[in-house]
Symmetry: C2
Amino acid sequence: MRKRANKGNYTRVLRKIWLSEGISRIEIADYLGLDKSTITNITAALQRDGIITEMSEGDAGPQGGRKPIKLKIEKNFYAAAGIEVQPDCCNVICINLLGEVLFSRKIKFEMDIFQFPIFFSKLIKDIKSDLNEKRVILAGAGIGVSGIVNPEKGAILESIPLGINEEFPLLDKLSAMVDVPVFIDNDGNCCCWGELVFNRAEQLQDFIYCFVEFRDDCGVAIGLGVAIDGKVHYGRNYSAGEFRSVFMEGENSGQIAILNDERINKEDDSDLFEKISSELGRNIALLVNTFALSDCFIGGDLTTAQLEIMSRALRTEFNRNWSYPGESECRIRASSLRELSVAYGAASMIIDSLFRIPAVRDTGSAEFDIPGRII
Amino acid sequence: MRKRANKGNYTRVLRKIWLSEGISRIEIADYLGLDKSTITNITAALQRDGIITEMSEGDAGPQGGRKPIKLKIEKNFYAAAGIEVQPDCCNVICINLLGEVLFSRKIKFEMDIFQFPIFFSKLIKDIKSDLNEKRVILAGAGIGVSGIVNPEKGAILESIPLGINEEFPLLDKLSAMVDVPVFIDNDGNCCCWGELVFNRAEQLQDFIYCFVEFRDDCGVAIGLGVAIDGKVHYGRNYSAGEFRSVFMEGENSGQIAILNDERINKEDDSDLFEKISSELGRNIALLVNTFALSDCFIGGDLTTAQLEIMSRALRTEFNRNWSYPGESECRIRASSLRELSVAYGAASMIIDSLFRIPAVRDTGSAEFDIPGRII
DNA sequence: TTTAGTTGGTTTATGCAATCAACCAACATG
DNA sequence: CATGTTGGTTGATTGCATAAACCAACTAAA
């Protein structure tokens, strides 16, 4: 059929086991609409590869019959690294196939896009040797940056904090230095990847991630990430998620109308923060209700109190914009991983790619291979 | 491999010919990443079936070589019917595989959901006999209704104009009476289907359709339809597209804040209409920019003058909400089919289904078959 | 007119994923 | 202990896609 590539149903089976740990062969066959013998063959190959194992026997059904054999992912078969790039430092994380955090650290690095490849390749080398002690292989590294990113080409199209205003082919520089796949994406989108992976059992379809950051210069920065149909949504020119409040007038720069008059400091003015939250909520309510999103995640560097304020404000505004009797059906949730969201999400891109069913693309599809691991 | 089902690549080839009339076998092979012999086999089968034909020879390349043979869809191999259900009448349309209108008519019918199935089956019988004279076979019928629809089950979940406030399994009633596939969807979504099919060569990915209607009772009604990734987006509970302005306060019913104070009649007050357009524009701007949509279609029963006013207002508001230098990149376009948009779109659902590549679903996929046409 | 080179398309043999049908394995119940 | 039920495996078969060789039809240049 194809040279070597991920044979379609292999990934479907693998993904299902990933989503539903402890599932049996028969259940997979029913779920995927394949013959049970096909599942036998595929699971046998996956077991040979070592990426899944049998965990235990389940219980027989009420009418007797053979006990099912539960299957699970060998969670430390691979690990993925995630790196959040900030102006003055990097947050680094390593997670395994189930999204469990193996380790994380913060590294000082005065961001300079031309120095970064060297820094990056050293970092990967360190991570690899750390993982080597645990007998885990690195499957790849994800990078999350603020700005507009083309993740297919791995190019940064624009990034104010990184001082990039024309297309910069970062991936090309990086792949030349390391021998693992590297993915790059916008920070808000990374957060979406993170929630997709972390909450994979829920099979989230349509949600928004609202990323709030306090910046020394410009007050508050809002980044949005959107997932539609269980995939991160990029839109034209990969610019989805750029936020500007509907209440902004004229040529003003900035994102929130309230902040044209006032300034906010990180943790003191909860009154103003509430106003900001309300304005933000009004905006997001329109998005949430017109697109019928099921979840709204809140993340960024917020205190617990601020999170609380914002949740309430969002809830109020979602209901205000709700056309039907009763309350808005959108869940409001705090980000699952707090200050490590971006790094975690960056790593999740790699994990997700291992278990994602390749779409039947319109145009010819070129799969890519995963490194190492002698089979 | 599989029983009979639409063999995946058959549909991919067929779709490509549908999208690019006059394409050659080699071009298809290159585009889809398949071997040219595979395309030979598939096109041979499609020719046997009669759904495609060779149209003419193209020109040889600059360095000589054999001339390519252009392929095209046999456009009258099937037709699809589309029915827009309104409280007092139905707009009916018939289109062929290329989306060309074969005929259309308006039929008086005092909508009553319990009488509708009988009306519908007579209508289909009439359409079939009309098509029979042209030697065209009916592939199916699409129905567009105002309200919230579950198109998978073919159930109307809620519709104020039709007086439905609990789930009504319309499809079940209808399929019992006719022998062709029937699809039902919300009117705004139908319009999206229509644009997807009508502009298929563009391969539209992410766009919004804004459906404006004047109603005797409530002034103006706004319906939105959204397409993401070349597919209509439904969201949680199929409720995507329900619109309520961010400027609405408190418990007010209605959609537009301006109209809480004022009333508008169909064609006289262009000042007020401009205000409405601006408010609407502010809202849509947020959607268009956050989701990075490439197009915004305007449809419904607007005069040319009103369309002009609204286009300008949208453009202004899109730019106001635009974060970057220059102008918003979202195209603003008048609906391609004016007052027949919904019916056309309803028919397009059927056409689209014939040429849509079945997604690799997570769960077992149950393909469905197309009626008639002795092969 | 001949020859070489290029591109479009078909034919034939082969590989391989998925299926079917028969079978084995392990449990419950009367 | 026979019987029914469910979980899972084995071996033969099916049919899609491929590769490689081939034919067809054209240009360009000698």
